[in-house]
Amino acid sequence: MSDGTILSVKGLHKGFGLRKVLDGLDLKAGPGEVVGILGRNGSGKTTLFKVLLDLIAADTGEISALGLSPDGSGRLRGLIGYVPEKPAFHSFMTVAGVLAFRARFFPSWDAAKAQELLRRLELDPAAKAGALSKGSAAKLAWVCAAAHNPRLFLLDEPTSGLDYLVRDHILNGLVHELAEGGRTILVSDHRMGELGGLLDRVCVLKGGRIAEEHSADFIKAETFRVSARAGSVKTSPRVRELARAGAVAEFAVFGRQALDELRGAGLGDGAEVKPLEMDDAFRAMLGEI
């Protein structure tokens, strides 16, 4: 891309029958950027990834990923590292067999890197793919996604169902390393809070489009948790109620200006202002109270 953009999506529409899943979605990601895609179940995250992978076609819209557009040829999949929510492999293959098989289809496959990842993730090359635990299957999916050195990663719930140690291993190890290496990553995860330290930007997918978008720095530095008497604070898109206990309510406030405006309007006695936890920020963005 001439402006250095790795991924550009404009006006993307995709429906299944009468149901519109993506409805004019716009999205951009630059080199080395880690973008979190936040959305409720069925909001279209997986559909977006499948469209980007050229697995299903958009109804309308423009897509450019790594200089290519989806054309049904599958070339795009050769340039993208994809970790699905539920990885699946041919059960009769061994772990080494899975990698050897994939190596035949990815011209940029790095066998040494695959071996290194196997070692780091403590995967047995002789193990049957059909007998892998959920965590091991997820690790193998990571190896498959990373071993051909893609510049763009799509991670669809990459830690779903994994225990803490595996999640930590993947998130703090692999994702961090990829991000450090300048790879562009789009990630959707229900535990987005755990990715907080890695994200550059968070987009909220709602109603088939990116309804809200914030940088990670903004969420860390300019979102606040305000405890005040219920009724003393007027909610708005920048001021969202998080919880209520008796006469006291808690609010998520997006932006220092919004906080100043609340203060100017008078928060009342006993009001308390604290930095907002990232998980709570995401909950507020999703409207989960």
Binding site: G15, L53, L55, A57, G72, G74, F89
Partner: protein, 637 residues
Amino acid sequence: MKDLILLQFRKNRLTFCVIAAALLISLPLAVLLKPQGLKASESAATAMLYWLFAGIPLAALIFSCGAGAEAAREKAALTEELLPVPQYRLLLSALLTAFIASAVLSLAAGLGALAGFPSEGPRALYGFMLPYYAFALAFLTLYGFTLSYAFANGIAGGALAITALTAIGTPLVLMDAFQEVHYKLLPLASLKALLAAMAIAGGAYALKLFSERGSRAASGGRKLALIAAAVLAAPVAVTFLMLARFNSRAEAVIMPAPAYTGFARYNTFPDPDIFNGAAMFQRPFTGELFLADPAGKKTVMVQGSTDREKGFLYLSPYMRPYRTVIAAKDGYGKAWVLYGATAALTRVFNGDINGFAEYPSASYNYGLTLSLAKKKGLLNFRADGSYFADLKPGMKDLQWRKVGRNSGEGARYLMDMESQDVYLRADRRTGVLSYKGHSWKLPSGGAAVPVPLKGSKEMAFIVNTGAHKPSYLCLPGAKAAEFAPRAVTPDMNLYLNPDGSVWTSDISEIRVTGTVSGESIDRGSMVQRFHVLTSDRKTLEVKLHTLLAKARVPAGSVQVLHAEGGRVWFNLGDKYMASVDSDGEGAAKLWKFPTRLVWRKAPPDWSSVTSSEKGLFIAGADGLFFMDWEGRVNKIS
């Protein structure tokens, strides 16, 4: 693609191995459990035939429908669709793997069946069936896979594939049948090839459309599905349109009307040249019946009807089918012809090339026999007994009189008329045949049955002494001599030509080597040996093998047409006329037929050619031709 095919095979290895093992195990089982009357090799080959025509098509459906349904599942999407190859190529690899598996099993079963039945007959049958079988297998695999993928359901896909194949196959079989009843149709072979190509290409294209609908269709997945369904249904629709078109354009061709002489049991062998050098023809569609001579003179006995019913899939050929004709010559040099217009109505004609008179038609039911022995007449078997009517030129009506209370007594009436002068005494070792002062001592006895030969000469006989014993020729003034190494009967294997020659043949297999017209021949082949009695009562024996190899005509599809001056004329497989010296094939002459035959059958059964004393009438796609014994051709019609 190779990696994908290997992957697909690995996925379906167990299914393939189980079916292949079952095929292999069926060989020793077939030998162990062989039915009585079959050799072990034949029993094994029969098992392979069952595999070919039932087991392997079913296996093809299992392979293809299983692979198609599996390709539509989510797991396949997660394991294979993430590879950087087009979805269509993934599907093609699964489809090809299913086809290769079926083809490998077919080849194994086919070779097994060929090994068990090594003779040329089954081989020719296999050769004939191979294109149909290959198409059916490819069709079942392609449509089974495509439809199973489209519905994500192997059983539904398989059932629909079978339905589609039946829908295409039925009209094709009907069209083939039309050809069999002598219709001059469009070039069916080319159209069938085109249809097969269309079905295969259409199925592959539909799979591509379905794959786009399933994975990366632009808007309008339903539209794509509809287009794919239309593409799949197109061969079926085209087949039926072809059938309808053929039906409306079907044109009757001329074909010889086989003149059954009715000699088989009750009449003596009649005067062979019933029509004095002419031959009788008919157009099955119109019902026209006429006599034509070598010069092209034509006498119509039954006018053809031009009326035809219109309508989609109206199976007109069967409405006015091939007619039964019985003809014989009377003592006045004219022919009597019984023409079966319908099963219950027989028309009676008497005449020659200069014209025919028709006698009042009546409903005679089945069982009308023409007798030209001592009494010329018609014998009719009816529910209340057997009736006989004399035939005399110029008579106004048929006068029936009862000659027996049942069909047995009617048959006896004819036999008493025809065989009263023949006496045969035989025991197990010897026999004596007596006829009007002549007496022949037979070298072997047994169940002797004399076949009378009259022709234009004094009465002679061929006497059978048992099914697997020689038949003997008893000529007036000569000793009984072997005619053929086995029994011969006019019902089965003894044929009379219009020139008066009588012949039979037997077939054996040999290795053929030699040179014919400078061309070296060396191949395993059948030899057909002909035993001919000429009209002037000389016996000839001719073997054909190098000529058969050169003309690429299988033994058994050769017919003796004429015998004269030590030479014998043959119809080689409805392709060539040949004349061969009884001394050998070296001086053989070969003439190609001047026209392609619309309806070809291995002579001497019914065919599109018929001979007269002067030459051969050939009814082909380009008209009716006459070829004389020197190969000169005259187009008659």
